[in-house]
């Protein structure tokens, strides 16, 4: 059973539960091409540590295609990526083997602010910043 963080909490869950309708996307998949009807969970795979396509997929799912269900990052996920992943709209994270989930939780606070607009911060910093 993989280590899972959901809603910033470490949870135990069998990732192969058959109850929910789950869609899994690979980096080259087009989120516009899938039906989100009745989908409880979208998993976006990060097969390699440096593959950044999943960030765009997440952002599009959340901001353009209106997906509100669970969005889970799976594959090569370490704590170092959590801040960016959450910013792009992921709310569940399956950590790679060997990564301590309890220690990893602190990484959501790696940065206290961001310059850019994102799913987590829809208004860019420059519109919120004092002169």
């Amino acid at each position: 059973m993989a280590t899972l963080i959901k809603g910033r909490r470490v949870v135990s869950e069998n990732p192969f539960s058959l109850k929910d309708k789950v869609v899994r996307l690979e980096p080259a998949d087009d989120p516009a091409a899938i039906s989100l009807e009745g989908v409880a969970r979208v998993e976006v795979n990060f097969p390699k540590f440096g593959d950044g396509r999943g960030y765009s997929i997440a952002r599009l799912l959340r901001t353009r295609y209106g997906y509100r269900g669970e969005l889970r990052a799976v594959g090569h996920i370490t704590r170092d990526l959590l801040f960016f992943l959450e910013s792009c709209g992921f709310d569940a994270f399956e950590l790679r083997e060997g990564e301590d989930p309890r220690e990893a939780l602190a990484s959501f606070e790696d940065f206290s602010e961001a310059y850019q607009a994102s799913v987590a911060r829809p208004v860019p910093l420059f519109r919120r910043r004092a002169v």
Binding site: P27, R53, Y55, I57, A120
Partner: protein, 558 residues
């Protein structure tokens, strides 16, 4: 200087903390080599041939004397007492210790500096004209736009793991001194009536597949800068190739799609983003502008320069016009014969900081030609400044001339290099050490890269030299006819040469040029463009063949 506010500072401090923890986890075997590699590169840390190399960001090349003194201190304390200014306007330390890097980053943060994204597959330092803010032909201060882009491109959540590195250049003046044509994105400011905007070029770059960028938008009003860039980056992040590191730059995507198709994709993506919350506001531009310190110029008149011939020779090459009467910009040459191009010792850094404090409002710039610029010098101070700079070995009057060589660190330091660059640069400088002859040859950019990654920008040198490996031996390919702006790429003149033969080959190219030029006003590169490379090729290989025929060389018919 742009002065950080509390948020800018906090983000840099948080980055230091994050990297300190990542280094700790790597040393405790909790991060793999591959994972740590991706993370350390985003903090400028390479593992090199002999030691790690740390590349410190100097955003758009602008530096305060307080920062320069800190760099001098760091080089003394953690390295061997010198640093190397790179063509991306950054500073590289060649001998730091891995476990001390978090400490170095913490020291940098105390003077509003960092090494964020100076390497790795993410946005790199945004570069610009080293005469920004003082050039007579400028219509926007590109520093302001560079800083807006620095913020937008720092820790971008969606675009931090791009297919490959990504370089943006901004030019705010009529003349292009930022080489916008050879960047992943080049932004050339334009004024249409009273409206400021940018011409947007995409897909230029050097490296092993050099290309000149394509204009995909003739005029982008400034308000739309960030949304438009987001559209470009999203198309690139999703569709740029990740299967082959050598085909992963955006230039390959633009080429494979064709510029027109690529433009359509960007426009389609932009249609979703245009007028969104990322649309820039006058308030934000004014806020960034107001955080820049500005020189308090005196009211002065332009002066006629007079003095000894050596001073006038220096002034001719190293002093540049300024938009404020009575002021001038001065280039301190880091290209003295016998010193690796771009290298500066800690003691020199301290001395340069003193000069900048006394003569140029406590600021300086790093040029992509690897020199330092004092941008705001009173003309009446030029002579005393020259005397002091000369005593420090920083007044070689060679800016724009053959010996102002751009060079990467090459095989003496870099793990990627196929061949050494610095000894080649020195051999050429030694051959052309007669100043009168140098001035007679006139403007000539000579650029050297130790491998096809092209950190020495050899493709856009009027003469470009590339180190290549042949069966474990170091050889050098010579190109001519490259130009930085308007961008053109050099053509290889023939089979590669041994290191010892390079100065002779350069001399023959120069002789050919001097024989064929119409007048002194016609530069080397102009002659190459007018008559083609053939006459130059014959001049070099005819002699080389007769002197030392080698099996690798094609036979040359006399």
């Amino acid at each position: 200087m742009y002065l950080y506010d509390a948020i800018d500072q906090r983000l840099v401090d948080e980055r230091v903390r994050q990297f300190r923890d990542q280094t700790r986890r790597f040393l405790a075997d909790q991060l793999s080599e591959d994972e740590f590699r991706a993370l350390r590169l985003r903090n400028g840390l390479y593992i090199q041939r002999y030691a790690p190399m740390l590349r410190i960001a100097i955003p758009y090349g602008l530096l305060s004397t307080r920062q320069l003194r800190k760099l001098a201190d760091i080089a003394r304390k953690y390295d061997r007492g010198y640093g190397h200014f790179s063509t991306r306007q950054n500073l590289q330390l060649n001998w730091p210790k891995l476990e001390q890097v978090p400490e170095i980053l913490a020291e940098l943060a105390t003077v509003q500096m960092h090494a964020i994204q100076t390497s790795g597959n993410s946005f790199r330092n945004v570069t610009t004209d080293h005469f920004a803010g003082v050039a007579q032909d400028e219509f926007v201060d590109s520093f302001v736009w560079c800083e807006i882009l620095r913020q937008w491109s720092t820790f971008h959540p969606e675009f931090s793991y791009l297919p490959r590195k990504f370089k943006i250049a901004v030019n705010g003046a009529r003349a292009d001194r930022a080489a916008v044509g050879v960047h992943d994105i080049g932004l050339h400011a334009i004024k249409q009536g009273n409206e400021i905007g940018f011409k947007v070029l995409v897909g230029g770059g050097l490296g092993r597949t050099p290309m000149v960028g394509h204009v995909i938008r003739e005029f982008l009003p400034w308000q739309h800068l960030l949304t438009y860039l987001e559209a470009i980056l999203r198309v690139y992040n999703r569709y740029g190739r990740r299967d082959n590191i050598h085909k992963a730059r955006i230039k390959i995507l633009v080429k494979e799609r064709g510029p027109e198709k690529f433009r359509e994709e960007v426009e389609a993506e932009w249609a979703h983003l245009k007028h969104g919350l990322d649309t820039l506001t006058e308030k934000e531009v004014a806020r960034v502008e107001a955080r820049f310190t500005r020189p308090q110029y005196q009211s002065l008149k332009n002066e006629n320069l007079a003095g000894e011939p050596a001073f006038l020779a220096w002034a001719k090459r190293n002093v540049h016009p300024h938009k404020v009467p009575g002021y001038a910009a001065v280039t301190l040459s880091l290209k003295k014969t016998g010193v690796p191009p771009g290298d500066v010792t800690s003691d020199q850094m301290d001395a340069i900081a003193d000069l900048a404090d006394r003569y140029s409002f406590g600021e300086l710039r790093v040029s992509h030609e690897q020199n330092l610029v004092l941008a705001d010098v009173r003309q009446r101070d030029l002579a005393p400044l020259w005397r002091e700079a000369r005593a420090l070995g920083l007044a070689t009057p060679n800016i724009g001339l053959l010996t102002n060589i751009i060079s990467c660190p090459g095989g003496d330091f870099c793990a990627l290099a196929n061949a050494k660059s610095i000894p080649v640069a020195q051999a050429i400088q030694e051959r052309f050490d007669d100043l009168d002859y140098l001035h007679e040859i006139g403007e000539l950019d000579l650029n050297i890269s130790g491998c096809m990654n092209a950190c020495g920008h050899h493709h856009v040198g009027h003469i470009g030299i590339l180190g290549v490996d042949k069966n474990g031996e170091e050889w050098y390919q010579v190109e001519i006819g490259g130009n930085q702006a308007p961008a053109s790429l050099g053509k290889v003149i023939g089979p590669s040469l041994a290191r010892a033969d390079i100065p002779d080959a350069i001399e023959k190219l120069i002789h050919c040029y001097l024989d064929r030029r119409d007048s002194e006003a016609e530069r080397f590169v102009d002659v190459v463009h007018r008559i083609g490379i053939e006459p130059f090729k014959e001049r070099v290989y005819g002699h080389a063949h007769q002197r030392a025929p080698r099996s690798q060389r094609e036979p040359v018919l006399a």
